[in-house]
């Protein structure tokens, strides 16, 4: 049995859970390596993965005998056999955020469970601390992202649309070993950059635009996340000032992020400095990432202490409505005495399709 499942079985003992139903696909992947549609049942006797015919071959090729996970098709069991899985289990844990009400009722009916107990993200919280293998995968995703950024800076020309640039990023990832986008790429130019979550449009890049590019890929399931704000042709003076302020705070945060740093304090420091200059911090300063692009911890107004081997983003941004926005973001690994940038692309002024003089 692998270390993650052993950990979970221990945790269940502490919580007086005799069984657990795991339905969050990324939690199942974390515990077992399985990438499929199905559910994982932890009973007092066994670890059982239930899926349908489409996935049986794939799942069996993922697992080894050491995993001690029994794989079945849903349809293999009679009504009686379903009711036996959790026989004599008083409390069975479930993931209240990853089960619809209809599925919840179906579980009670099918397994005849006395007491379904909410588990409040115990596995998600465990996933905050990354092991060596997970860090290696995130590091690789970040390298591909850095390489993609180098390519795209050479590639962008005034007159291209935001959508064309987003598609070129996807094409690059696809041809250079990424298995997927980590999230829909943001390419937001000129006025559009004033919306933190703008989706790429048919707007063409114009001379003097800022372009916010927020993108990342997946490598063996693990995400990267980076934002750079670049300039088309030249740097307008009003934007330079904001850029400098954002970059200063991004670097200050980078200096302060380490084991034991308080997320609320980090956020407050940036917010105060922005406010001192007449701006505001309107979104979280950062978030954890791993199998999910957004996962625990969140670096915002909650008291929370960073720990060694968490992987989080550092992404201050300033947005001036109907005008422009600047965000600079790295993926970083928290260590004992500081943090290590996993995305390493240049953060000095970057001018794409520079005006020739």
């Amino acid at each position: 049995m692998n270390a993650n499942i052993k950990w979970l079985r221990e945790k269940m003992k502490m919580l007086d859970l005799e069984g657990m139903i795991i339905s969050n696909p990324n939690n199942i992947r974390y515990l077992t390596g399985i990438i499929a549609e199905g559910i994982l049942l932890i009973t007092r006797k066994e670890n059982i993965y239930l899926t349908d015919a489409r996935y049986i071959e794939e799942v069996n090729s993922t697992l080894t005998i050491d995993d001690e996970i029994i794989v079945h098709e849903f349809k293999d069991f009679t009504t009686d056999e379903y009711e036996n899985f959790f026989l004599f289990c008083e409390n069975v844990g479930f993931e209240e955020n990853y089960m619809t009400y209809a599925q919840y009722k179906e579980c009670i009916r099918r397994y005849k469970i006395n007491n379904m107990q909410e588990t409040e993200g115990i596995i998600e919280k465990q996933r905050m601390i990354k092991d060596e293998e997970e860090i290696a995968k995130i590091t690789r995703a970040c390298e591909i992202t850095d390489n993609c950024f180098e390519h795209i800076c050479q590639w962008i020309k005034i007159g291209q649309t935001e959508k064309e640039i987003a598609l070129e990023i996807q094409r690059y990832f696809q041809l250079h070993g990424a298995e997927d986008l980590a999230f829909p790429t943001i390419v937001a130019s000129g006025k559009n950059s004033s919306k933190p979550h703008a989706m790429p449009t048919d707007k063409k890049i114009e001379l003097g635009d800022v372009i916010t590019i927020d993108f990342g890929c997946k490598y063996e399931g693990y995400c990267s996340d980076m934002t750079r704000t670049v300039f088309a042709g030249y740097i307008p003076e009003k934007i330079r000032e904001v850029y400098d302020l954002v970059l200063h705070n991004q670097k200050e945060t980078q200096m302060a992020m380490k084991d034991g740093a308080n997320a609320k304090v980090l956020t407050k420091l940036v917010k105060n400095d922005f406010e001192l200059h007449g701006y505001d911090l309107i979104h979280a300063l950062g978030h954890g990432l791993g199998l999910d692009i957004h996962e625990y911890p969140f670096i915002s107004n909650q008291d929370f202490y960073l720990k060694e081997n968490m992987v989080v983003t550092n992404e201050p941004g300033i947005y001036i409505p109907e005008n422009f926005g600047v965000r600079i973001e790295d993926t970083v690994l928290i260590s004992k005495n500081g943090c290590i940038n996993l995305t390493k692309s240049d953060k000095n002024y970057i001018i794409v399709d520079k005006v020739q003089k």
Copy 2:
């Protein structure tokens, strides 16, 4: 108030529901036109849409005064005000398949509801019958899909990878008025075509491969869905026979699909003919589509009668494990006396990158 919300309020009366909480985003879009993250509350007095600050501007620009929908931010309300929404409502409907158990409990807590009642897809079932405007949007999505297919048949060359072809389809859609893919494009060549849901790989197209291309786009929220199986260079004899059998059945189904046709019978006819030839029909013969790529009705083993103005797919397929597969699919509109193909691409043998003699 628009016709869809009026219909829902009538339906609620029939079901003795004094209120309803709608959380399925496509049901909200269907009822209100709103594209955002939020929930729709139907109370005895009002229609209320609750969202957060990011969407307020967008939502207000979508609605007119005639919609009679009041828009608020979640944070606008005090605990007391939340409890007043459903005051004196004995039964409040909710969507048990679009609410997690955690959200369900939060609803009871926040709104102090006595009896939350499952509504068993009433809105999804109403969405089966498309109105004129919906049909026009699906028709446009299908036209773009046909044009894309014409382009891609010229574009494909032996030696390209499945992923490259899938990306070119996406590029075409993006540059020709589609707002998105309707679902991840399937490009499955050679052996890969034997898996109905194969994802594009780095496998290169080889001379003599079949290539199954299953793709569609969205136009103003509405989906198209089409599959063609084409040949790289020439037509291998063993594949030709299977192609002919699939095409024959696809055309027979097309002839039989009309108002009053029974989905189970349609399916059985194809299954019988496949079995007569030593093959099997291993997936549903078709499915409804609209705002969702898969929605009611499903054309499989369930007794169900097609009705005028339903839009469904017609997609028989044969898959020979470790060998090859053939699927041919159109999106069709059910009418009184027959069905109308909304995707119109050629279904005769299509040879891409034809061998020059």
